[in-house]
Structure formats: C-alpha cells, structure tokens
Symmetry: D2
Subunit: 360 residues, 4 copies
C-alpha cells in the first residue's frame, strides 16, 4: 500500500521487472496541459537500459503508450495512464535464484513480508519500476514548464572516490548530456567513465552521488510542519532504489558551522525582489521555498548485483553460492540522473498545486 | 495541510509558540494499550526548555493533559488528544520583529505563502511544535514496547567539529542521559558541553548530528515502493526543525565503495534466524526492515537565532538590523535527541500496524 | 482511524461524551479568513442540548475556545484547534450500563471491535461528538461566505408521519429559526412540536427527515469518479449519528420515472448563464455542481435511548433489563439541522479548494 | 483527483469510454490470495454491454488482462493492474455532440470544470468506467471469500413503478441470474422485462432500485466517526453513475417510526453468539457491523440518453436539438447489479483489512 506518491498531483505505479508491463496512473494533473509524447519518450530514453557501454546490456525500447487522460494532445483533468511493456525479459536467467536470498537485495525481506514473491529480475523491487516514475515525472516537468520557468538539473557529482567539488554555479549544465556518465565537467566525466569501466572489468560495482539544482522556483512551495519541501524531496529521493542519503543546502557540512557563518542575510535586489546574500538554506526556509536555487545531494550505494560469486543462503536457510549472472549496471549513477529529476518534478508539481489553497 | 503524519497510526499537531496551547491528536492507536502518563511526561521533560545551562532559559513545565481516547488507563481505539498549555510566552519580546524577516528563519516564507502570520516566537514555525510530536511519540513508544522489544536510542554524535567516531556497538547507551548534552561517551560529552558553553558566550550558535539506533525491529516494516522504511524515516527526520541531512546504513560514505565491499552476506545463526554478516544496509533492504539494527544520522544546522545584531530587511523590503533578543538555544542537539526518537517511534508504530495487512 | 474528513479542508475530531473535552483540528483552512468567534458560538448554540423543552435536558454551555491557527482575528493557514470542555457530565448516571449492551446503540459493536470502551454516555459513539463538527462547519461557512454567496439552509421536513410536502421554493427559510423544531412552515412546526411532546410523554422517541437546500454554488464542485459531490454529501450525512438514508434531487422517487420526464433541459438565461429548465438533477450532474440549487434529504431513525425498560443482554451474554435513565432527546431532528448544515459546509469548502487545481 | 477509493485495499481507476483502454490499479491487496482470472472475467461478463436485448447493443468483449501483481496464480502484495481494451468504440457516432450539452449528462459540468474534455461517448463520465470497478471488485470478492464466508447478493427490486416488496429473507437468490433483469422473483422479473421492452420501444428510458444483502459479515467492520460502514457504503453506491439515493436498514421508512418499535433487542443464541431479535439497524450499529445481515437499497434515475430528440444548448449557449443516436441502455438496472456488488465488496475488503489494526 505504498505505491502512490503525491497529494494532489498523485501517481500510482505498478509492474514487475519481468511481468507483462510496468506503468503509472497520474491522478490530479490539471486539464489543459499540452502533452508532448516525444518529450516523455525522450526522458525514458535517458533512463533506459543499454544506452551506453557503462550501463546494463538489457535491451528495452521502453516505448510508452498513453491509455487515458489525454484528448487531442491535451490533458483533460482525468487520470493519465501510461504503459510500458516489458520486452527483453529473460526470465530464465533468474530460475537459479528463485529460492536464493541475494546479498543486499530485497529477496529476503520481500519473502518475509509477503510470503510469496515474483523473483524474476527482482520483481517489484527492481529499479525497472523507476521507468514509470520517469514517465510521470516527464508530465510533471511539462506542467512546471507550462506554469513557470522551473528548471531541474541533476548530474553525477561523484563516482566512488571521484568527487566533483566545483560549486554548481560554475558548472555548464548544457554539458550534462554530452557524455555517457552525465557529469557536466568533461574532464571529470572522462575519469568517472574510466573508473566505471575498470570496475566493470573487475566484475564489481560502485556507488556515487547525484547532485540536483532547481532554479526558477516560486516562493511558497512546501507545507509545514510534516510536508516540508525538503522533507518531501528527501522522501522522494530516498524512495529511489539504492539511495542511502540525502542532504540539501549546507547539509552535513553545515552541522559543523556556527550560526553567524550559516545564516543567510536578506536583501532587496534591484528588481525589488527579496533575496538572500548567501544560500546555505538551499532555497528552503521553514520547509518552504524562498525563491533561491534549491540544491541537494543524493547518495547511491554500489549496485548489489555483482558478476562475482558470493556466499549467501537460500529460503531453507542453507548456505549457497550466488553466482553472478544476468545483465546489470556496474554503476547506476548515469541512469539515476533522470530518475532524480523526475522525482523532484513530481514533488514540485504537487506542491505547486497545493499552494493554490494557501490563501483566501 | 501538511500537519498530519502517518497512515494508520496518524498524528495531527497544532499550535503556535506563543498561542494558547500546542497539542496533538493521535488517530489510529489500537485499543487496549496501557497509557503511562508519567512516561509521556518524562519524555516531554527530556525535550523541555530550561532543562540545563546549555538550553534556552524559557521556562515551560510542558505539562500534558489527556483530553480523550483513554479510559481507565487504557487506549480505547478512539482519538487520543494531548494538550500542552503555553505558559511562559513573553510575546512582548517579539514586537520588534513583527515586520522583520530574520535571517534563515521562516518569517519571510510564511509571510509570502500565507500573507498573514503569527510572528510571536516564530509562531507555527517554532520548534516548540515538536513538543506535541514528543508526546505522541511517547505513545508510539509505549505501543512498540507493548508489542515487542523495539528499542530506540538516539544520542548526540557531533557538535560542530567534535565528532564521536566510535561505532555504536561499542557505546553504552545507558550513559546517554547521564550528561546534559546526551552523548554516551563521557569524555566527548564534556568536550561538547565546553564547546557549547563557549559558543553561547560568543552569543553564537552551533550545529551537530544526532545518531539513532533501533534494535529489536521485526522483519517486514516498510512499504515499497514510495513508503520505504528509510524514506519515511528520512521524511520524518527532515521534518524536524533545523535538519539539513539524513543518511542511514553506510550513508554518503557508502557511495565511495564497491559492491563487493558493501554487500551484506546472509547466514543462518544458531537460533535459525536469518542474519547478515555485516550491516551496511542499516537494517533495511528494499525499503523493508530485515531484523538487523537500523541506524541513521540526522544533521542539524546551527540555530538561526543569534544573540548578535544581524542585517536583514523588513516586510517593506527596507534594510534593518535584527538585534538578538529573546531566549534561545545555543545548540539544539541535546533537546533534539528525544524528538528524533519520537519521530522514529511514530514511523515504526505506523508501519507496525500497516504490516498487519500484508498477508492473507 | 476514521476520525478525519476532507482532503484539503480537513477536520479531525476527538473526544468522548463524558471525557474531559471534545474538539476539532482543522488543517487546510486558507490564510486570511476573518474568524468570527461569535458566529461559531451561535452555531454551537443551535446544536447545544437543553435549548428547548423538546431536546435533552443535559446542560452544556458548549463554550468554544480557540487554541491555535488564528492571529489577530484571522486564520493564518496553520491548524485551527477548537476546544469544548464537557461540563455537565453526570457519569454516575451510566454506571448501571457499564456492562450492558443497550438496544440499537453502539455498545456491543464498540466492545467487540475495540475490546475496551468508555461506556459513559456512549463515549465516542455519542452524538456529542457532532458539536466539534458544528464548530468546524461554522469555520467552513465563514469560508464559503467570504469567497462567494453560498447559502446552506437545512430544516426539519418530517417528524414521524408528519411530512412537509411543500416544494422548498415556496418555503420561507427565514422562518426556520422562529420555532423550536426548525420547520419553516409555522403550522407544520406546531404539529411537529405537539407530536414530539406526546412522544416524550410516552417516554418514547421518534424519527424524521432533515431537508437541505444549497444555493449560490459555483459550477465545478465535486470530483469524478469516486468523490462525486453527492457521494461526499451522502457520506458526510450518513456519518451523522442516527442517519439511515440520503437522497438528492429526484431521489428514490426519480427511480420510478422515465428519462423523458426526468431530463433537465439546458437553456441560456438572459444574463447568458447556462441554466436548466427543471432541476431533478438536484444541482449535480456527473458528480459536479452545475450551478442550480443543490437539495437533498437525510433520514434519521428514532433515538435509541428510551425512558422505558427494555430487554437486552450484558457483556456476559446474560439477559438484563435496560432501564431508561439519563437525559436524552425524544427527537434529534431539531438539533440535527445545524449538524446537517455543518457537514454540508465542510464538503463544499473542501471541494471549493480542490477545484483550484482543476485547470492549468 | 477523485479517482481512487479505499484506504488499505485501494483502487485507482482510469480510462475513457472511447479511449484506448480502461483499467484499474489495486494497491493493498494482501499477498497469497489465489486469483481466479475466470472469476474476474465472469463478473465482467455480468456487467458487459450487449448481454441481452434489454441492454445497450454496444459490443465489448471486456476481456481483462493482468499486467502486474500476480505471480504463479497468487497475489504478491504488489499493485495488481488490470486492463480492458476498448474495442467497439464508434467514436464517429459522437461527432455531432462534440459541442452540445446533452440534458442531464455531464457534458456541461465537465466542460465548465476542466475546460477541455473527451466528448466521445461521454469520455470519463461514461458508465463504462464501472467495468474497472467490477474487475477490482471481483478481486475483493475473492479476498472476502478466502478469509470468511461473506456473501454479497444484489438484485433488481424495482423498475419504474414495479416494486418487489417481498422481504429479502423470502427470496431465492439463486434465481437472480436466471433472468436477464436480475430479479429473484420470476414473475416480477417477467413484468420488469416487459416494462423495459415497452420503454425501449418508446425510445425512452426508466429508473429503478437495486437492493443488496450482505451476509456472513464479521462483527467490527467500519470506523467511527466519519468512516462508518454505512457512510462508506453510501459513498461507494452514490459514486456509481445515475444513483440518486441510498438507504440501509429501516431507511427512510424508519424515519416514521418510534424508538420502541425500531430498537433491535439483543439476545444470545444457542451457539452463544450475540444476535438481535429484529434487524432494523441493517446489520450496522454505531457505524460498525454487528454480524447481522447488512441490507441496503440504491436508487437509479432513468438513463439520460434517449432515442428521442431533445432541446438543449451548445457550448456557445445556442439552442440546439439533441437527436437520439448511439447505442444505450433503456434501463441500467440489470447491469448495475454486479456494479453494486463490486462496490460493496471493495468497501468490505478495505474495512476487513483496516480492522486488523483495531486492537493491540
């Protein structure tokens, strides 16, 4: 019962990695929004497997079909259902793990919780589910574009030890899509690619960090006290497979500081807008957007599926060897970029509509 | 419309810092739970202001009154309403900030969002609201105690640069309440207290980190795909005032690792229970508890209210000096410990009840 | 876990008949609404016990206290908590029914469901809880008044066999409050009062019907497909104690008709507004308000508490005699009028705010 | 944003009458439930168009496809998505009404609310959407069957003036499916069929009533105070197209009675179970099932689409003649029977799971 997200712009995803299809129903998209199917597909293409040598070689066209909610190119205010058929589902690759609990996978917890699970490719716990989120997130992005100039840019800022420390203000976001690792710094991108390549040759995997910057946000998004903007962003990010941490603004580093260093002084700019001198708040104060850039980081652990033999147990509790089969990503970070953006778009779209009820 | 948390064990808080009262309504507490009012009060006492020289000197007894839902000492399954009157509300201390946007406070965003706000003591954005959470969290703790042996232990693991790096397994949690900063390592506690003292003398504030360890959790808490256990814990923690980051298990550090280092191999212990050799997963796999200890960290920024003069603007956009008045904490960390525990208890209690619908 | 109502304008009520207090938290009232405390109190006075000889003689001032959410007379967008202390709670009147299941009361079902219940005065199942709804409904009415000219008029249209068959268009709603039974037809009112009087002398009770007319509703309230306007009105009315039925527009009578009689033809009036020739739709088409008057009927059963001896069983399953003690209404209809209006106001206020998210 | 129903066993439907498909996502079905696809299909067959001469002649196989949530014949606890493609969608039949507001249809209100609508066959407002409910309701029925012996029997008890007044206890429910109008009394069934036939020849339509009896319900379903069992049943029924009224137990008739007639006295039966002598409460007391039969009635207005010419207006407010085209039901009652059952099953399944959180 945790497969929906959002209060007004609400999505419900469904589907397993090797079932018939995955998909999403969006309930609460306002009527009159022009839906560019090509844009939705292009976002899915950014996430889809097999897009480069550093991603899994599973081949999925991830072609999206619109089932409802759109008429003559525009949303009608009724639920938008989007469907993606699973094509290249080599379920036989998974027969050998039907009864095995793979290390750091969800096999054991799903079995314990539900008693009965679809083990093929991880079933519902597979990151394949995030394709549905990216499709819905694309609609949210269209909404944010239509009602304002909200820009969401995520990028890979860390792979293993390789950290891009350049402040985001000095990066050229137009470079993000210019390389297969989605890092806006070409040199760092090259290093990251090499690292992932070497990890892949080791039949190992590696973690990393996605950074995200949102600009053009209006003041007033986020709802005290539990649905603070950063609390919902945090939940949304932590709900992505393999995420281990979330921080925004000054983050964990800010915990070391003094208030006199950390406080963001207000001033009025030439256009008469309220601005802050610094932005350690990360664009959010009291859980509500203040109009400054929102920025945050999302930590991903290394993928659990290795091409190496590992020791584990089966459903009977007996020790077994899990051998590395199937097709998997040595590093999820490049494909995680559009997922992070999609979840951010979903959070913002929801708060954008919720904000309409704030005042008389 | 963001003042409720939880799906089955659901709380709704209300109240402003200097209004008549704050409080909480718990809807969904199962019937038959023995409610120990003294325990609720003792939890509030751990959070209450004026408890030591390193906390704010505002004096609030924070005496809790039960308005409903409990009969002859036991819950009845109907809403439990808990009320805490505001006593020491020196609202006149705040007249000077009625029209001022204090740096890194919620004054500006609340004004922009709602048009009309209670400025006294920060109104709804004040951390005073968390007393209501602690009261509700105490009920959640009683539930978790009654149905199992779930232990939640939070402690201050960092103040400014001072970091307690000892693995939690080597700490003596019984020492947490033995000192006013709530750090289980006596030597580190002493250093932290001195640091806070010196910060206070500087009329400044300082941030820090609360760590939290939950043991005795049954397998199966958490709901894929959006309501993953760590996603809800993250949201709950990020909804606490001044929080800037959340990580669990290996956290941001894990982003540097390789899968072969990070994977937690399963084994069967002598009692026949499924266990993991290591616990970099932080007790959560696929968003569901696996029975190992759950541990996470929560980063707090330094308190925004300083006893120093700061430059800012007023509601008309004119530059003003904000002078440091009122009574405030130089460091919220010691008082944040019971709040972190309360939010963790609320998350777990909710999932504990949700889990009952998992299987036929 | 069913003690909240509404999606954006959301209320959560709490409290038992003979506990410390009853109350309500409203989350989602827009900021900037002028809150007239006298109006809230006057609505409570319309519902309060002891207001006339045909209502229960329990004496409750039902004085409402605002705990939060209102500052300088206006809502702030934060939760509005309203508290009503229980004063005249003669709990000792109920000792004799602690273990008894009174006929057609909730004693048995509460005991079976929760195991442990507050039996005093019916505890949570008492209609006393509706005072909290009336208080919240008064705030909703203020909202509807502030944003438009929405008028809600409920009245008693039936007591026992006495039915007011005059079409509502021919009634003078200003007469509703002119008599103690709240029927706008003075002659019928007199007859109803006499009937209730005679029922009371028989130590018996009697049922009836409340009719409700809402005018001035904007087009567009209600949300397909499950949250149709009349579906929510129906749920809201059926959630009131003692209600057995709900119908709107042509209602059960319309089931006998042919489509050619029942269809409401559209026309454009002189002001250019879309109108219908007839209004058998009851102002709602496809679950959405069409701007015509909304009208519906709510059937109430006779109060279950009689001043007569009745046979029943106790918690051990043994036959017992339930003697008629305590103070109760011979007919709830007069006091039900403000409750019906309050629930209607809550439904409309919620949809009024939800409608803001309909279009781009 | 009103396209979901249920709190734990939650369904979200999507799809338009003449779009690509309709469907439903069920989130919260417990794992381990055997899913009999043939049963789901058979329920859809009871609702499908073209099943007899007294229903619309639109031909839809209404073949259901399972997209997710079921593995090796059993539910896995993950969302169950069910898809029904639209086949016989003669959209060109609707070109002539693109700009017309048909009397007593949702054309006008949808246009006013959303600005942009799919007019083909009524789009989202078409009763075609209820096929998705029937599919989901079939899963709910399987759940209720698996966990107890809950039987839901709906039948047509009235068409126009023809009323079946026989108490349900004297009816033979096994006869319901023996005739095309779904009335358990063969003689009355014949009369109803003749009436519908004659109405159809008049190119008119007619309303009626569906009665529903639920037996075998455990004690404790329903949640005070807003989510009373009958309040949710009422909402669920009123959310079905064309429904104008709902009553349960003694209903509107009970409003005429005295308490001394209406009260259901308790007794202990030979098996030691708590029972009531009479059942005017309709199996529900205080909003909670008491174990007796639940029975209620649902009033349906005559279908708005006539095969006659009607006067109305177009989107420009100009008077137009709406001519009767397309394929429609002269009377929805026979096809409404499985829909009423489906909604009842969904309400009960949800409360069945919610009840698990009642007690410690």
């Amino acid at each position: 019962m945790g497969n929906s997200y959002g209060k007004i712009f609400k999505i419900s995803t469904f589907g397993e990695s090797h079932g018939a299809a995955i998909g999403v129903v969006i309930d609460g998209c306002p009527a009159g929004l022009e839906i560019d199917l090509n844009f939705i597909q292009s976002e899915l293409d950014r996430r889809k497997p097999g897009q480069s040598r550093i991603t899994t070689q599973r081949r999925e066209a991830d072609e999206v079909e619109i089932l409802s909610g759109i008429f003559e190119g525009k949303s009608t205010g009724t639920p938008i259902a989007l469907l993606i058929r699973n094509a290249d589902a080599r379920s036989k690759d998974y027969g050998h793990i039907a009864d095995v609990f793979r290390p750091s996978h969800a096999d054991y917890t799903y079995t314990a919780k539900y008693g009965h699970r679809d083990y093929r490719g991880g079933g519902r716990s597979s990151a394949r589910e995030t394709a549905a989120r990216v499709a819905a997130g694309a609609v949210a992005k269209l909404l944010l574009k239509a009602v304002g100039n909200i820009q969401i840019n995520a990028y890979v800022s860390q792979v293993g030890d390789l950290q891009l420390t350049t402040p985001y203000q000095q990066l050229d976001f137009s470079q993000i899509e210019s390389n297969i690792v989605r890092c806006p710094d070409p040199q760092m991108a090259e290093a990251m690619i090499q690292l992932i390549d070497s990890v892949r040759l080791d039949r190992d995997t590696i973690g990393g960090v996605v950074s995200c910057v949102i600009s053009g946000t209006p003041v007033g998004l986020g709802e005290p006290v539990f649905d603070r903007l950063h609390a919902e962003l945090g939940k949304a990010m932590l709900s992505i497979n393999a995420v281990k941490g979330f921080e925004y603004g000054s983050g964990f580093e800010g915990a070391k500081w003094r208030g006199s260093q950390h406080n963001d002084g207000f001033y009025t700019d030439k256009a008469g807008a309220v601005r802050t001198q610094t932005n350690f708040s990360g664009g959010i104060q009291g859980g509500i957007s203040n109009g400054e850039d929102i920025y945050f980081k999302v930590a991903f652990k290394p993928v659990a599926t290795l091409m190496q033999d590992q020791t584990s147990i089966n459903a009977d509790g007996q020790a077994v060897t899990v051998s590395g089969k199937g097709r998997h990503d040595p590093c999820v970070l490049p494909r995680a970029v559009p997922i992070v953006e999609a979840m951010a778009a979903l959070v913002l779209a929801d708060f954008y509509l919720r904000r309409r009820a704030d005042k008389l």
